[in-house]
Symmetry: C2
Subunit: 192 residues, 2 copies
DNA sequence: AGTCATAAAATGAACGTTCATTCTTTTTTT
DNA sequence: AAAAAAAGAATGAACGTTCATTTTATGACT
C-alpha cells in the first residue's frame, strides 16, 4: 500500500516534469535523462512506468486532455439552455487555461506539431462531444449559425489558446475585462 | 554570375526541404542529412549557406513570414476604408493559407513551439504593422470594437491557422462557402 | 516484535545508434 | 593555374534504451 502510493507519486512527478520540459524545449529537445532528473528519479525508472519516450508523451497528452475536458464540462448539463451552456463551458475553458497554464501550453503544442501519435490525437478529440452536441442543439433551435463545428470551434474556443500563448510569452497581460471582451467576441462570431 | 545563380537554386532547395521535413517530423526529428538528401546536396554544403541548424530554421522562418505578409498586404493601402481593407487583407491571408499550405503549416508550427529563437519571433512580428494600423484606424472611426490588438487578432485572423491545420489533417474540407462563413464570423467578432 | 527469504522497485553505468558539425579531398568555375 | 564550391568520410557528443546490481518492501515463521 505504502509502496503503491510511492509509485503514483513518482509517476505524477514524471508527468509533471514532462509537461514542464516539453513546454520549454519541445519534445525532441527534452532528453529522458532530464525528465528523470527533474522527477528525482533514475532514467531507467521511467521505463517501469512507460514503454518508451513516445508512449510517455502520448499518455501525458491523453491524461491532460481528459483533465481539461472534465474541467470544462464540470458545471454543464444538457438541460441548460444553449446560450447559457455555451457561456458556462467557454468560461470554464478560459479558467482552465489561465489557472493550469502549463497543462494548457502543453496541449497547444501537441495540437500543432507532429509530436503526438495520430491515434492519441483522435482519442483526445472524443472528449469534446458534449460541446458538439450543444452546437447541434443550438443550430436546431436557430440560436447559432448553421456552420461546421470546425468553424464554430475555430472562432469561439480556439482563440483562447492563442491568447494564452501570448500571455505566457509576456507580450500582453490577460485580465478579467479582457476575458469578458473575448467572450463577447466568441459569442458574436457564432450566434445567429 | 552563373555560379551565383546555381547557389540560389541550392539555397532554395534547402529552404523548401526544411519546410517540408519540419512540417512532417518537427524540427528536432529532422536531421541535417535528410534535409541535404532532399535538396540533393551534401550535408557539408548546408554550412556554406547557413551557420548551423538553428540559423537555418530561423532564416527560413523569417523568410516565409516575410513572404506571407507581403502576400497579405499586396492589394491593400491606407486609403482604403477600414471594413473594405479588413476584408481584402483577411481574404488574401486565407488565400495564402490555402495555396501555400506547406509554408503556412510551417509558420503555424513555429508559432506554437520553442523551435524558433525569440529574436526571430520578434522580427517576424514586425511585418504585421499595417494590420495593427488598420485596427487603430477602425477604432478611432468607431467601426470596430475598442479591444486589444491581441483580441482582434485572436478572433479574426488566427482562426484561419486552426482551420488550415484541420484541413491539412484531412478532418474536414475547406471550400469557398466555408471561407465566406469564416470571414463573416471573423468580422462579426471584431466589428462594433 | 523480530528475523529472514523473496519479490518488486529503483538505480547508475554501459551500449549502440544517431546526429550536427568539421576536415580533407575532389570537382567546378574563373 | 588558382580560387571557390561541393562532396563524402570522419569525429565527438548526446541520446534512448537496456543490463547487471543494489535497495526497499512484503509476508511467513519463529
Amino acid at each position: 500500500m505504502a509502496q503503491l502510493q510511492k509509485s503514483i507519486e513518482k509517476r505524477n512527478a514524471l508527468v509533471k516534469a514532462t509537461i514542464h520540459l516539453v513546454n520549454n524545449n519541445g519534445f525532441h529537445a527534452t532528453p529522458m535523462s532530464k525528465i528523470a532528473k527533474m522527477a528525482s528519479v533514475s532514467p531507467a525508472t521511467i521505463y517501469l512506468y512507460f514503454d518508451n519516450k513516445q508512449d510517455l508523451v502520448n499518455k501525458v497528452y491523453i491524461e491532460v486532455k481528459a483533465a481539461f475536458t472534465a474541467y470544462a464540462f464540470k458545471n454543464y448539463n444538457t438541460d441548460i439552455p444553449v446560450a447559457e451552456g455555451f457561456e458556462i463551458i467557454w468560461k470554464r475553458i478560459a479558467d482552465f487555461k489561465l489557472k493550469e497554464v502549463q497543462e494548457a501550453m502543453f496541449l497547444a503544442q501537441c495540437d500543432n506539431t507532429p509530436m503526438i501519435d495520430e491515434t492519441s490525437r483522435q482519442e483526445g478529440l472524443k472528449h469534446l462531444q458534449p460541446l458538439l452536441d450543444l452546437w447541434e442543439r443550438g443550430k436546431q433551435e436557430g440560436i447559432i449559425k448553421p456552420l461546421s463545428p470546425y468553424l464554430l470551434y475555430a472562432y469561439s474556443i480556439n482563440p483562447l489558446s492563442f491568447l494564452m500563448v501570448m500571455q505566457q510569452r509576456g507580450v500582453f497581460q490577460l485580465n478579467q475585462d479582457h476575458l469578458e471582451d473575448a467572450y463577447r467576441a466568441a459569442w458574436d462570431s457564432i450566434k445567429k
